[in-house]
Protein backbone atom coordinates (compact mmCIF):
# COMPACT_ATOMS: atom_id res chain seq x y z
CA UNK A 1 0.00 0.00 0.00
CA UNK A 2 1.11 3.55 -0.68
CA UNK A 3 -0.24 6.87 0.50
CA UNK A 4 0.35 10.60 0.55
CA UNK A 5 -0.78 13.60 2.56
CA UNK A 6 -0.14 17.19 1.50
CA UNK A 7 -0.66 20.64 3.00
CA UNK A 8 -0.19 23.99 1.27
CA UNK A 9 0.66 27.44 2.61
CA UNK A 10 -3.03 28.21 3.17
CA UNK A 11 -3.63 25.13 5.31
CA UNK A 12 -5.44 23.11 2.67
CA UNK A 13 -5.00 19.39 3.23
CA UNK A 14 -5.53 16.38 0.95
CA UNK A 15 -4.85 12.68 1.50
CA UNK A 16 -4.82 9.60 -0.72
CA UNK A 17 -4.15 5.88 -0.46
CA UNK A 18 -3.72 3.18 -3.11
CA UNK A 19 -3.18 -0.55 -2.78
CA UNK A 20 -3.01 -3.96 -4.35
CA UNK A 21 -4.33 -5.51 -1.16
CA UNK A 22 -3.27 -8.83 0.30
CA UNK A 23 -1.61 -11.74 -1.48
CA UNK A 24 -4.14 -14.54 -1.81
CA UNK A 25 -7.16 -12.36 -1.04
CA UNK A 26 -10.49 -13.63 -2.25
CA UNK A 27 -11.77 -11.98 -5.44
CA UNK A 28 -13.86 -8.97 -4.47
CA UNK A 29 -12.17 -8.46 -1.12
CA UNK A 30 -12.02 -4.78 -0.24
CA UNK A 31 -9.75 -3.55 2.52
CA UNK A 32 -9.55 -0.25 4.34
CA UNK A 33 -7.94 1.76 1.53
CA UNK A 34 -11.10 2.92 -0.24
CA UNK A 35 -12.99 3.25 3.03
CA UNK A 36 -13.27 6.92 3.93
CA UNK A 37 -12.38 7.17 7.62
CA UNK A 38 -10.57 3.85 7.60
CA UNK A 39 -7.54 4.05 5.31
CA UNK A 40 -7.85 7.71 4.37
CA UNK A 41 -9.27 10.92 5.78
CA UNK A 42 -8.75 14.65 5.27
CA UNK A 43 -10.23 17.67 7.02
CA UNK A 44 -8.58 21.10 7.09
CA UNK A 45 -9.91 21.52 10.64
CA UNK A 46 -8.11 18.44 11.94
CA UNK A 47 -5.73 16.28 9.87
CA UNK A 48 -5.01 14.46 6.65
CA UNK A 49 -4.36 10.76 7.20
CA UNK A 50 -3.24 7.78 5.11
CA UNK A 51 -2.76 4.27 6.44
CA UNK A 52 -1.21 0.96 5.52
CA UNK A 53 -1.47 -2.44 7.13
CA UNK A 54 -4.00 -5.15 7.86
CA UNK A 55 -7.04 -3.59 6.22
CA UNK A 56 -9.61 -5.61 8.11
CA UNK A 57 -8.22 -4.36 11.44
CA UNK A 58 -8.07 -0.77 10.20
CA UNK A 59 -11.73 -1.01 9.16
CA UNK A 60 -12.92 -2.38 12.50
CA UNK A 61 -11.22 0.45 14.38
CA UNK A 62 -11.80 3.22 11.83
CA UNK A 63 -8.14 4.15 12.08
CA UNK A 64 -8.03 7.31 9.99
CA UNK A 65 -11.09 8.86 11.60
CA UNK A 66 -9.91 7.89 15.07
CA UNK A 67 -6.59 9.64 14.49
CA UNK A 68 -8.38 12.76 13.28
CA UNK A 69 -10.77 12.72 16.24
CA UNK A 70 -7.92 12.49 18.74
CA UNK A 71 -6.15 15.44 17.14
CA UNK A 72 -9.29 17.54 16.76
CA UNK A 73 -11.04 16.85 20.06
CA UNK A 74 -8.28 15.96 22.52
CA UNK A 75 -5.46 18.08 21.16
CA UNK A 76 -3.02 15.23 20.73
CA UNK A 77 -0.19 15.71 18.27
CA UNK A 78 -0.51 13.66 15.08
CA UNK A 79 2.33 11.42 16.28
CA UNK A 80 0.68 10.74 19.65
CA UNK A 81 -2.72 10.23 18.03
CA UNK A 82 -1.23 7.66 15.65
CA UNK A 83 0.50 5.82 18.50
CA UNK A 84 -2.65 5.75 20.61
CA UNK A 85 -4.78 4.57 17.68
CA UNK A 86 -2.41 1.78 16.66
CA UNK A 87 -2.12 0.67 20.31
CA UNK A 88 -5.91 0.58 20.55
CA UNK A 89 -6.16 -1.41 17.33
CA UNK A 90 -3.56 -3.92 18.50
CA UNK A 91 -5.31 -4.38 21.85
CA UNK A 92 -8.85 -4.65 20.52
CA UNK A 93 -8.60 -6.51 17.22
CA UNK A 94 -4.91 -7.23 16.60
CA UNK A 95 -3.20 -6.46 13.36
CA UNK A 96 -0.39 -4.13 12.50
CA UNK A 97 0.43 -1.35 10.11
CA UNK A 98 1.37 2.28 9.92
CA UNK A 99 -0.10 5.75 9.52
CA UNK A 100 1.07 9.14 8.28
CA UNK A 101 -0.72 12.39 9.11
CA UNK A 102 -0.42 16.18 8.87
CA UNK A 103 -2.55 18.47 11.04
CA UNK A 104 -3.86 21.92 10.15
CA UNK A 105 -0.85 23.56 11.79
CA UNK A 106 1.53 21.53 9.64
CA UNK A 107 2.64 19.12 12.38
CA UNK A 108 3.64 15.72 10.99
CA UNK A 109 2.84 12.29 12.34
CA UNK A 110 4.64 9.13 11.22
CA UNK A 111 4.09 5.92 13.17
CA UNK A 112 3.80 2.18 12.82
CA UNK A 113 3.48 -0.91 15.02
CA UNK A 114 4.81 -3.33 12.41
CA UNK A 115 8.54 -3.94 12.11
CA UNK A 116 9.10 -1.33 9.43
CA UNK A 117 7.39 1.27 7.29
CA UNK A 118 8.92 3.19 4.41
CA UNK A 119 8.18 6.93 4.58
CA UNK A 120 9.50 10.19 3.24
CA UNK A 121 8.56 13.86 3.30
CA UNK A 122 9.57 17.06 1.62
CA UNK A 123 9.41 20.45 3.33
CA UNK A 124 11.30 23.72 3.09
CA UNK A 125 13.38 22.34 0.24
CA UNK A 126 14.60 19.38 2.30
CA UNK A 127 13.91 15.68 1.87
CA UNK A 128 13.69 13.30 4.82
CA UNK A 129 13.14 9.55 4.65
CA UNK A 130 13.44 6.30 6.54
CA UNK A 131 12.24 2.75 7.00
CA UNK A 132 13.37 1.73 10.51
CA UNK A 133 12.64 3.28 13.89
CA UNK A 134 14.91 6.18 14.76
CA UNK A 135 15.74 7.08 11.16
Amino acid sequence: TVGAVAIDADGNIAAGTSTGGLTGKLPGRVGDTPGIGHGVFADNDSVGVSGTGVGESFMKVGVARRVSYLVEKTGLSPNDAITETLDYMAQRVGGDGGVIAIDGAGNLGIGWNSNQMSWAYGRNGELHYGVNRGE
Partner: protein, 181 residues
Amino acid sequence: LMPTILVHGGAGDIDEDMVIRKFNGTKAAVRQGYQVLMDGGSVMDAVMETIKVLEDNPAFNAGKGAALTQPGHIETDASIMRGSDLAAGSVASVSGIRNPIVAARKVLEQTPHVQLAGDSASNWAVDQGCETEDEDYFITLHQYEYWLQWLADHNMTKSTSGEYKTMNQIETMDKWKNQKS
Protein backbone atom coordinates in the same frame (compact mmCIF):
# COMPACT_ATOMS: atom_id res chain seq x y z
CA LEU B 1 2.66 27.23 6.81
CA MET B 2 5.36 25.48 4.82
CA PRO B 3 3.96 23.38 1.97
CA THR B 4 4.68 19.75 2.76
CA ILE B 5 4.23 16.38 1.10
CA LEU B 6 4.44 13.26 3.27
CA VAL B 7 4.30 9.72 1.86
CA HIS B 8 4.39 6.11 2.97
CA GLY B 9 5.27 3.08 0.89
CA GLY B 10 3.74 0.35 3.02
CA ALA B 11 4.41 -1.24 6.40
CA GLY B 12 5.48 -4.73 7.48
CA ASP B 13 8.68 -6.71 7.12
CA ILE B 14 10.58 -5.16 4.24
CA ASP B 15 13.09 -7.47 2.53
CA GLU B 16 16.68 -6.26 2.72
CA ASP B 17 16.95 -5.97 -1.06
CA MET B 18 13.73 -3.97 -1.15
CA VAL B 19 14.83 -1.29 1.31
CA ILE B 20 16.95 0.63 -1.20
CA ARG B 21 14.25 0.36 -3.85
CA LYS B 22 11.69 1.68 -1.35
CA PHE B 23 14.02 4.54 -0.35
CA ASN B 24 14.51 5.54 -3.96
CA GLY B 25 10.81 5.17 -4.75
CA THR B 26 9.51 7.25 -1.87
CA LYS B 27 12.13 9.93 -2.50
CA ALA B 28 11.15 10.15 -6.18
CA ALA B 29 7.49 10.39 -5.23
CA VAL B 30 8.12 13.15 -2.69
CA ARG B 31 10.16 15.12 -5.21
CA GLN B 32 7.30 14.90 -7.70
CA GLY B 33 4.65 15.97 -5.18
CA TYR B 34 6.79 18.73 -3.71
CA GLN B 35 7.46 20.15 -7.15
CA VAL B 36 3.73 20.26 -7.82
CA LEU B 37 3.24 22.30 -4.64
CA MET B 38 6.16 24.59 -5.45
CA ASP B 39 4.73 25.17 -8.93
CA GLY B 40 1.46 26.33 -7.41
CA GLY B 41 -0.49 23.12 -7.88
CA SER B 42 -3.23 22.17 -5.45
CA VAL B 43 -2.80 19.68 -2.63
CA MET B 44 -5.09 17.34 -4.58
CA ASP B 45 -2.74 17.55 -7.56
CA ALA B 46 0.25 16.95 -5.30
CA VAL B 47 -1.28 13.87 -3.65
CA MET B 48 -2.45 12.38 -6.94
CA GLU B 49 0.85 12.93 -8.76
CA THR B 50 2.81 11.57 -5.80
CA ILE B 51 0.74 8.41 -5.64
CA LYS B 52 0.94 7.94 -9.41
CA VAL B 53 4.72 7.74 -9.10
CA LEU B 54 4.38 5.07 -6.43
CA GLU B 55 1.73 3.15 -8.40
CA ASP B 56 4.05 3.05 -11.42
CA ASN B 57 6.97 1.79 -9.32
CA PRO B 58 7.02 -2.05 -9.08
CA ALA B 59 8.67 -1.90 -5.64
CA PHE B 60 5.32 -0.98 -4.08
CA ASN B 61 2.09 -2.91 -3.61
CA ALA B 62 -0.13 -0.63 -5.69
CA GLY B 63 -0.68 -0.35 -9.43
CA LYS B 64 2.33 -2.12 -11.03
CA GLY B 65 3.52 -4.49 -8.32
CA ALA B 66 0.10 -5.13 -6.78
CA ALA B 67 -0.51 -8.35 -4.85
CA LEU B 68 -2.22 -11.28 -6.58
CA THR B 69 -5.62 -12.58 -5.55
CA GLN B 70 -6.18 -16.24 -4.69
CA PRO B 71 -6.91 -17.12 -8.36
CA GLY B 72 -3.86 -15.10 -9.45
CA HIS B 73 -5.36 -11.85 -10.71
CA ILE B 74 -4.96 -8.17 -9.92
CA GLU B 75 -7.63 -6.12 -8.10
CA THR B 76 -6.71 -2.69 -6.79
CA ASP B 77 -8.28 -0.09 -4.50
CA ALA B 78 -7.64 3.65 -4.15
CA SER B 79 -9.09 6.68 -2.41
CA ILE B 80 -8.57 10.42 -2.19
CA MET B 81 -10.08 13.09 0.07
CA ARG B 82 -10.04 16.89 0.04
CA GLY B 83 -9.89 18.54 3.43
CA SER B 84 -11.37 21.90 2.46
CA ASP B 85 -14.87 20.52 1.86
CA LEU B 86 -14.64 16.83 2.89
CA ALA B 87 -15.11 15.72 -0.72
CA ALA B 88 -14.06 12.09 -1.19
CA GLY B 89 -13.75 9.57 -4.00
CA SER B 90 -12.65 5.97 -4.19
CA VAL B 91 -12.58 2.85 -6.33
CA ALA B 92 -12.52 -0.72 -5.09
CA SER B 93 -11.58 -4.02 -6.77
CA VAL B 94 -10.78 -2.43 -10.12
CA SER B 95 -8.78 -4.25 -12.78
CA GLY B 96 -6.69 -2.98 -15.68
CA ILE B 97 -6.58 0.64 -14.50
CA ARG B 98 -2.95 1.78 -14.51
CA ASN B 99 -3.42 4.48 -11.86
CA PRO B 100 -6.40 3.77 -9.61
CA ILE B 101 -5.79 7.04 -7.72
CA VAL B 102 -6.75 8.90 -10.91
CA ALA B 103 -9.99 6.92 -11.09
CA ALA B 104 -10.69 7.70 -7.42
CA ARG B 105 -10.27 11.41 -8.07
CA LYS B 106 -12.62 11.19 -11.04
CA VAL B 107 -15.26 9.62 -8.77
CA LEU B 108 -14.80 12.59 -6.43
CA GLU B 109 -14.99 15.22 -9.13
CA GLN B 110 -17.41 13.76 -11.67
CA THR B 111 -20.01 11.82 -9.70
CA PRO B 112 -22.23 12.46 -6.68
CA HIS B 113 -20.89 9.22 -5.18
CA VAL B 114 -18.02 8.35 -2.88
CA GLN B 115 -17.18 4.87 -4.14
CA LEU B 116 -17.49 2.76 -7.27
CA ALA B 117 -16.54 -0.91 -7.18
CA GLY B 118 -15.77 -3.93 -9.34
CA ASP B 119 -16.12 -4.34 -13.09
CA SER B 120 -18.55 -1.44 -13.32
CA ALA B 121 -16.00 0.84 -11.73
CA SER B 122 -13.28 -0.41 -14.09
CA ASN B 123 -15.48 0.13 -17.13
CA TRP B 124 -16.52 3.58 -15.92
CA ALA B 125 -12.89 4.56 -15.36
CA VAL B 126 -12.05 3.51 -18.92
CA ASP B 127 -14.96 5.59 -20.22
CA GLN B 128 -13.57 8.53 -18.26
CA GLY B 129 -10.25 8.23 -20.03
CA CYS B 130 -8.19 6.49 -17.36
CA GLU B 131 -5.10 4.80 -18.77
CA THR B 132 -5.34 1.00 -18.98
CA GLU B 133 -2.82 -1.83 -19.04
CA ASP B 134 -3.00 -5.59 -19.63
CA GLU B 135 -2.87 -7.68 -16.48
CA ASP B 136 0.70 -8.76 -17.29
CA TYR B 137 1.84 -5.16 -16.78
CA PHE B 138 0.83 -5.24 -13.12
CA ILE B 139 2.29 -8.63 -12.19
CA THR B 140 5.89 -8.50 -11.01
CA LEU B 141 8.18 -11.45 -10.39
CA HIS B 142 8.39 -10.38 -6.75
CA GLN B 143 4.63 -10.55 -6.22
CA TYR B 144 4.31 -13.70 -8.33
CA GLU B 145 6.80 -15.45 -6.06
CA TYR B 146 4.91 -14.20 -2.99
CA TRP B 147 1.74 -15.69 -4.50
CA LEU B 148 3.36 -19.05 -5.25
CA GLN B 149 4.62 -19.16 -1.67
CA TRP B 150 1.15 -18.25 -0.40
CA LEU B 151 -0.38 -21.09 -2.44
CA ALA B 152 2.18 -23.51 -1.02
CA ASP B 153 1.68 -22.25 2.54
CA HIS B 154 -2.08 -22.75 2.21
CA ASN B 155 -1.82 -26.13 0.53
CA MET B 156 -3.53 -24.79 -2.58
CA THR B 157 -3.48 -26.55 -5.92
CA LYS B 158 -5.00 -26.01 -9.34
CA SER B 159 -8.40 -27.61 -9.84
CA THR B 160 -9.55 -29.06 -13.17
CA SER B 161 -11.48 -25.84 -13.79
CA GLY B 162 -8.26 -23.87 -13.51
CA GLU B 163 -8.97 -22.32 -10.12
CA TYR B 164 -6.68 -22.57 -7.14
CA LYS B 165 -8.31 -24.35 -4.24
CA THR B 166 -7.32 -26.44 -1.26
CA MET B 167 -7.33 -30.21 -1.75
CA ASN B 168 -10.23 -30.32 0.70
CA GLN B 169 -12.25 -27.91 -1.47
CA ILE B 170 -11.48 -29.90 -4.61
CA GLU B 171 -12.51 -33.18 -2.99
CA THR B 172 -15.75 -31.56 -1.84
CA MET B 173 -16.43 -30.21 -5.34
CA ASP B 174 -15.75 -33.63 -6.89
CA LYS B 175 -18.11 -35.23 -4.39
CA TRP B 176 -20.89 -32.82 -5.32
CA LYS B 177 -20.16 -33.20 -9.04
CA ASN B 178 -20.51 -36.96 -8.74
CA GLN B 179 -23.88 -36.83 -7.01
CA LYS B 180 -26.63 -37.76 -9.41
CA SER B 181 -29.76 -36.72 -7.53
